[in-house]
Amino acid sequence: MRNPYLPDIARIEKIIQETAANDVKTFRVTFVDDEVRERFSYRPGQFSEISVFGVGEAPISITSSPTQKGYLEFSVKKMGVLTTALHHSAEGDLIGIRGPYGNWFPVESMEGKNLVFIGGGIGLAPLRSLINYVLDDENRGRFNDVTIIYGARSPGDLVFKWELEKWEKRRDIDFYLTVDKGDAGWSGREGFVPTVLMEVSPSPENAVTITCGPPIMIKFVIQNLLKLGFTPAQIVTTLEMRMKCGVGKCGRCNIGSKYVCKDGPVFTYEELQRMPQEY
Amino acid sequence: MREELSPRGTEAWQPKIVAFLCHWCSYAGADLAGISRFQYPPSIRVIRVPCSGAVNPFYIVKALQCGADGVLVSGCHPGDCHYLAGNYLARRKFALLKGLLEHVGIEPDRVQFSWVSAAEGQKFADVVKMVTDRVRSLGPAEKLVKRGRGR
């Protein structure tokens, strides 16, 4: 019996509070079964269905990179029933994970190119998987220049601060951190991500840009990227949809002929333009 | 007969009764019953509510679905509502709900309403005893009770 809905059991090893308001937490989990741990291989951009038993399931993108062995990380914003239950979990608790599902960032076609990452808020989570994959010592040489523009509403809303520091120190990437509005302790850049993008003004030549964030940010980022000369095929983003099954059957993530859980969540802007605006 | 229905088999079966008590009167009445050491059966599970008028009929039906053998809603006497008319408004809803539940075959004694003031500790004990006796004589709730499907 193949039951595509049967999750594997994983233990929450570590919970990291990400934001000042504590509405985003990163969960580092390990499969209880060694065999599953070996078998579970994924690519940057894929997601998993996370179960909290007694509550339900939700699709969450994997924020760790496949280069980080032995564990998975999920960054979760407290939004609905499942994410709230997850936030109430403690280290050591057991949850269910099935997947990985969906497509992934087109890593192969990105080789040899300049990569421009543009993230906003919790939208950094799926990008982070690819960023860490690219920055991994074994892979870094396969890619050209790496530019990262990341912003949040306020300093307290920035996620992965513990990792942003590392990125800032690296000399092989251009990292731009911004907040919409700073506070007393903020000495960094202020400004909306799309505006910073224009300031940075990356060249579209031999470049791919990968963006994820709140819908309104994505909208203006894409507008500005087009102004900068990027073609729709050079712009990669990842969609959020209501999903249940994760395996292209339950129907709710259907957009046109695509199922976001199976054909997505990663789409180029060129692909999105061909799809109905129902996302 | 009733003993056979008891899950433990040996002692007398004690019904589980969800009691929605208004904060201002009946809850205080229950308090007084306790302070005064009036004896009543340990059958009720008290949920304090601001007012009997705040008891959505849904709560009552939901309690039955969750396996309550009986439900008791108790508020201030007519005219004594802290919010002036909450209990009057509740009374209409309860009258119709009671009729509806009976209409579909739920034993009328499973759902009871009472007015108990903060001073009526004895009445509270009496009401609980009466309701418990009635529910006990009906036996464990079977109708409308959701059963689990897991292991």
Binding site: M1, R2, N3, P4, Y5, L6, P7, I9, R11, V32, F53, G54, V55, G56, E57, M79, G80, T83, A85, S89, A90, G92, D93, L94, G96, P215, E240, M241, R242, K244, C245, V247, G248, K249, C250, G251, R252, N254, I255, G256, S257, K262, P276, E278, Y279 | P7, Q65, C66, G67, P140, V145, K146, R147, G148, R149, G150, R151
Partner: protein
């Protein structure tokens, strides 16, 4: 055995015999909606003692003629048996008349993709930490979900059977095969019943079907009416095998001497039935749906959708009763009394904290606003316009694009049961006409 003819009087015996080897399902009576409500397990009456055959033509003289279907009707008049005794137990010998009612209310998909089914059970010990060593949480298949005994469905209509070939594309895909569906499909033999006189709501030919189509069927039965002087009071069923499984079934019946091979005149009668049915259904067919996708691709923003959805109430009658609609929801059903923190154990249950429950999949519908509602409050399909459009687009454009077939078999249930008579046939013809006028091209340009 490629074909077998049985008298209708023997249907009961045939079903009873099959029941020994299979779970047999037949359309189930429900007088309130006026016809079969769905499919139910056939429960054979105790078999007659050896030497005394079951109901056959010989005892058909016993007033069988009064089994007119009219008497099957239990009126639902005010003040009658209101709300009570509606469980009409259809005498089995009336099944042949009953089977002539065209369609069950609930579609055949119910037997393969039930309205609600547990997809896993779980048990969590020690609040959520398990036993502290990674054990204490288990997920498992809930008991009794998958059918044990192989099954036979008798009396499914060709449109319903064809719908299974649509559902196969979704549930039996290579990447994520769904064994809940597949295992039921594999162990079910479907004996279809051709439609002698299609209903006024039928439009299967517009979707590539036929009143005597064999897609999805293992056996196709013809309802041959009684002829003067052929000795049967009610006529025969002529069953033709479509698949090897169907052949085996007929072979099994044939060995029990429950029928005979068809004659040439029977074959001619079948042909005549087919022709008559095709002629009858041809009148009033909507435009062919197979090429509708070409038009739909260009009219996503057409003003037609705004007028079309206006009368839609947003209920799921059309989608739930649709034999090809397959959207579902997965919801958690924790056992009552069990809670995250343990809490009070269920009646008679163990006293230590333990959470048990099942995860269930239920039919869901793209007609419901919450179907696509995000937790953030954003809804990609916020109004009836988008939702009705989605239903039409999915059936006739998106699904064909993905799977090469329209997700509609023309059964007409949505036509019949829509509370506001939003007739998909009108929609189909209207859209086809939009294509004819070149509107589609101009809009997409």
């Amino acid at each position: 055995m490629a074909a077998l003819k049985i008298t209708k009087m023997a249907l009961n015996s045939v079903l009873a015999l099959m029941s020994e080897r299979w779970d047999v399902f037949v359309p189930s009576p429900s007088p309130a909606p006026g016809g079969p409500s769905g499919f139910r397990l056939f429960e054979p009456r105790p078999m007659p003692a050896p030497g005394k055959p079951g109901p056959s033509e010989r005892d058909s003289s016993v007033n069988r003629q009064t089994c007119d279907e009219d008497t099957l009707w239990n009126g639902t008049g005010q003040g009658g048996q209101k709300g009570r005794d509606r469980e009409n137990h259809l005498p089995e010998e009336r099944l042949p008349q009953f089977l002539r009612r065209v369609l069950t209310v609930k579609p055949l998909k119910e037997l393969f993709f039930p309205r609600s089914e547990p997809i896993l059970g779980y048990c969590v010990d020690g609040a959520f930490g398990g036993n502290g060593d990674g054990t204490g949480v288990s997920v498992f298949m809930p008991e009794g979900v998958l059918p044990g005994k192989p099954r036979v469905v008798f009396g499914a209509r060709p449109c319903d059977a064809a719908s299974l070939t649509v559902l196969d594309r979704v549930f039996a895909d290579e990447a994520y095969p769904d064994d809940f569906y597949i295992s039921r499909r594999k162990n079910t033999i479907i004996v279809g019943l051709g439609c002698n006189v299609p209903a006024p709501t039928c439009f299967c030919p517009a979707t590539g079907g036929d009143p005597f189509g064999t897609a999805g069927l293992d056996v196709l039965a013809y309802d041959l009416p009684a002829l003067d002087g052929d000795g049967s009071s009610q006529g025969h069923y002529l069953m033709k095998a479509v698949t090897r499984e169907g052949e085996a079934l007929l072979g099994f019946l044939s060995e029990a001497h429950l029928g005979e091979g068809p004659s040439e005149s029977d074959e001619r009668a079948c042909m005549a039935l087919e022709e008559r049915a095709r002629k009858a259904i041809a009148a009033g067919l909507p435009a062919d749906t197979q090429s509708l996708g070409r038009v739909l691709g260009g009219i996503f923003n057409h003003p037609y959708w705004a007028t079309l959805h206006e009368k839609c109430l947003g209920c799921a009658a059309c989608t739930y009763l649709c034999p090809t609609c397959h959207c579902f929801d997965i919801s958690e059903e924790p056992d009552p009394g069990a809670s995250r923190s343990g809490g009070e154990s269920p009646k008679g249950g163990p006293e230590r904290p333990r959470l048990t429950g099942v995860r269930v999949r239920n039919w869901d519908s793209c007609m419901f606003p919450i179907f696509t509602l995000h937790t953030s409050g954003h809804n990609p399909r916020p109004t009836g316009l988008e939702r009705v459009r989605q239903r039409v687009m999915h059936k006739f454009y998106y699904f064909p694009e993905n799977f090469g077939a329209v997700a509609c078999v023309g059964c007409g249930r949505c036509v019949k049961y829509c509370p506001v008579n939003l007739d998909i046939r009108e929609v189909i013809s209207h859209i086809a006409a939009l294509g004819g006028t070149g509107v589609a091209e101009s809009i997409s340009a």
